[in-house]
């Protein structure tokens, strides 16, 4: 029933500060089919994170629109966006965005709150994911008590546990060592195999292109090649 393809049409984003205007994105046009793995490549500051944030509806573009499942994500109501974010779109942030005073378990649990599931089921589900990611014994620790790699894994579990149809991952391996990066990619690919998921990964280049069905390179806020 759901068509989880993404289309960006003439998307642009300007940040206006006191004396200057920064064009973070200019005339971005791209198309991502359902179940594709797409790499958004580019240097730091190229505009990849901004594009992912616009694609997920977290920020509004200055111009253009993003179409997901035939809905213009930038125009839908906040309630509809909340439903999309809780059920269909999963975001993995570059900076993990874990709540510092919540335990590992609670950080994952908060992603399940909007789904209104049975508490026992939630617990079982979380523990099974923690086991898969070798974090079962860390459930009651705070993020500050984990390594960077472990924090990233928690952030990924928080996204995957919602069983989204679209995953927007911003530098999921950007701040971890090679071994952990491999582990993380492995988890994402396994999830991709087991579920019909559209995966958009923003990377500055440390993820092999062999994983991708399609690659877009972003430079200074523009798509460099198609």
């Amino acid at each position: 029933m759901s068509v989880h393809k993404i289309e960006c049409i003439s998307v642009s984003k300007k940040y206006i500060s006191k004396n200057q205007t920064v064009n973070a994105l200019e005339e971005i046009n791209l198309h991502i089919d359902q179940n594709e793995i797409v790499l958004l490549k580019g240097r730091s500051g190229a505009g990849k994170s901004t594009l992912l944030n616009i694609m997920s509806g977290l920020i509004k573009p200055t111009g253009g629109k993003v179409i997901i499942d035939n809905n213009c994500i930038n125009d839908i109501t906040d309630d509809k966006l909340s439903i999309l974010l809780s059920e269909r779109i999963g975001i993995i942030f570059q900076s993990f965005n874990l709540l510092p005073t919540y335990t590992v378990f609670e950080n994952i649990e908060i992603a399940m709150v909007p789904k209104r599931l049975n508490e026992y089921m939630i617990k079982e589900n979380i523990m099974s994911y923690l086991e898969k990611f070798n974090l079962k014994d860390k459930a009651h620790l705070l993020p500050s008590e984990l390594s960077v790699g472990q924090q990233q894994k928690v952030a990924i579990i928080r996204t995957l546990i919602k069983q989204p149809l679209i995953i927007l991952a911003d530098e999921p391996t950007g701040s971890v060592d090679e071994e952990t990066a491999g582990e993380i990619l492995n988890h994402l690919m396994t999830f991709k195999k087991e579920n019909e998921v559209t995966l958009v990964i923003a990377t500055h280049g440390n993820i092999s292109e062999k994983f991708a069905d399609r690659i877009y390179t972003i430079d200074n806020g523009r798509i460099k090649n198609l």
Partner: protein
């Protein structure tokens, strides 16, 4: 609920600051109300009864009572230096039915020339038990010597000025009004609209006038009605209602009810204004606290929004947090205020050494309602901000 409690515990400092705001405001409002109510009660007790009396009568050009057998007596029914006609007791009921009238009493005031004293001597017949008599004529509280009136047939009390003018003492017998009257007591009633030289119970005066002076007019009951109003603030309304109904009446009132009424209105408004000001402070303070909380939590709230938490779920959290803080704050405030008042009273601490602090249980619901309202209003600002800001901007603190 789990995350709500967690949120309150998580930011202990902010929670304590917010609760303290409600607590301090509650204590202040409690103290203001405590003083205001005590002040209002004691001041109003005095002011409400200030100038709330007046007399009514119908002036006449006749020099003597109608149908009076004794034309040589040269006596007449008077009020404030003019002759009056007689009134019937059913008028008292009519006046009592006017809204705001606390009491109305009959008064029979007769003036007679007594050659022995070479003076016109006025005799007032009063209803001893009436509050209207107390404030318009005299009462036992005005007694300066001897005893006050009883129902004994020939006992009278005299005004101090009259007794001094004629060198009279308690126990003296006055041969006036066609008989012998025993001076039981001396009063100083001050300035009153129904003042006379001597007073006796109204039944006795009626008997003296009928038997001794042969005033045999039918329905001979009174010539003045004494009126007491329940509150000085409605004094003028009562008078105008009375004048509307009984156009021929002359109404005589000392207008001291007016300043009393004004002072009462000022006291009422001042305490209300002070309470409103503290309430505004409470709202501003708590709104600021909730707003600061939103700013501090903006990143977290942005993350929760990005995970699919709806604006309504987050708004409910903000409202409940605000309400819980308000409720805990007001309860602590009431307890502290209560203890403070107890301590101040036990140490005889008074405002300006005069006004006592009194804890009133009936203000508790008002305080709780004020704080809950404050909590709700305070939550409006952050919620508005929450609805207007996208998750990404909240995460990046780009508000």
């Amino acid at each position: 609920m789990k995350y709500l409690i967690k949120e309150l515990k998580r930011h202990r400092g902010r929670t304590i600051a917010s609760i303290s705001g409600y607590t301090i405001s509650t204590v202040f409002i409690l103290l203001v109300l405590s003083v205001a109510i005590t002040n209002e009660k004691s001041s109003f007790g005095i002011l409400r009864g200030t100038g709330t009396h007046f007399i009514v009568y119908i002036p006449s050009n006749a020099s003597c009572c109608v149908n009076c057998d004794n034309e040589d007596s040269k006596g007449s029914l008077v009020a404030e230096g003019v002759n009056t006609i007689m009134l019937t007791s059913d008028l008292i009921d009519s006046i009592k039915n006017i809204k705001g009238v606390r009491d109305a009493a009959p008064y029979l005031l007769y003036k007679l020339h007594e050659p022995k004293y070479n003076a016109d001597i006025s005799l007032g017949g009063i209803d001893i038990s009436s509050i209207a008599t107390k404030n318009n004529v005299c009462a036992v509280t005005n007694l300066v010597a001897g005893k006050f009136l009883s129902e004994k047939p020939n006992e009278i009390v005299a005004e101090e000025s009259f007794a001094m003018a004629h060198n009279l003492s308690v126990g003296d017998t006055l041969k006036i009004y066609g008989g012998k009257l025993l001076l039981a007591g001396i009063v100083n009633s001050g300035i009153k609209p129904g003042k006379a030289d001597i007073y006796a119970p109204i039944g006795n005066v009626r008997r003296i006038l009928k038997e001794n002076l042969k005033c045999i007019s039918p329905g001979f009951e009174m010539n003045i009605i004494l009126v007491e109003v329940s509150d000085s603030r409605i004094h003028s309304q009562v008078i105008s209602q009375l004048k509307d109904r009984m156009k021929y009446f002359s109404v005589s009132s000392y207008n001291c009810y007016q300043p009393a009424s004004e002072v009462m209105t000022i006291i009422e408004k001042a305490s209300t204004l002070l309470t409103v000001l503290i309430f505004i402070f409470l709202i501003v303070f708590s709104a600021k606290t909730q707003m600061t909380s939103l700013m501090e939590r903006s990143r977290e709230i942005g993350i929760l929004k990005s995970l699919g938490w709806s604006n309504s779920r987050l708004s409910n959290q903000i409202i409940f947090i605000s309400l819980i803080q308000a409720f805990i704050g007001v309860i602590i405030g009431i307890l502290i205020g209560y203890i403070l008042i107890l301590v101040m009273n036990s140490n005889q601490i008074r405002l300006f050494n005069l006004v006592e602090f009194n804890f009133r249980i009936r203000v508790i619901p008002l305080l709780i309602i004020l704080s809950i309202a404050g909590g709700l209003i305070a939550a409006i600002f952050p919620i508005t901000k929450l609805y207007r800001t996208k998750a990404g901007d909240l995460i990046n603190n780009y508000m």
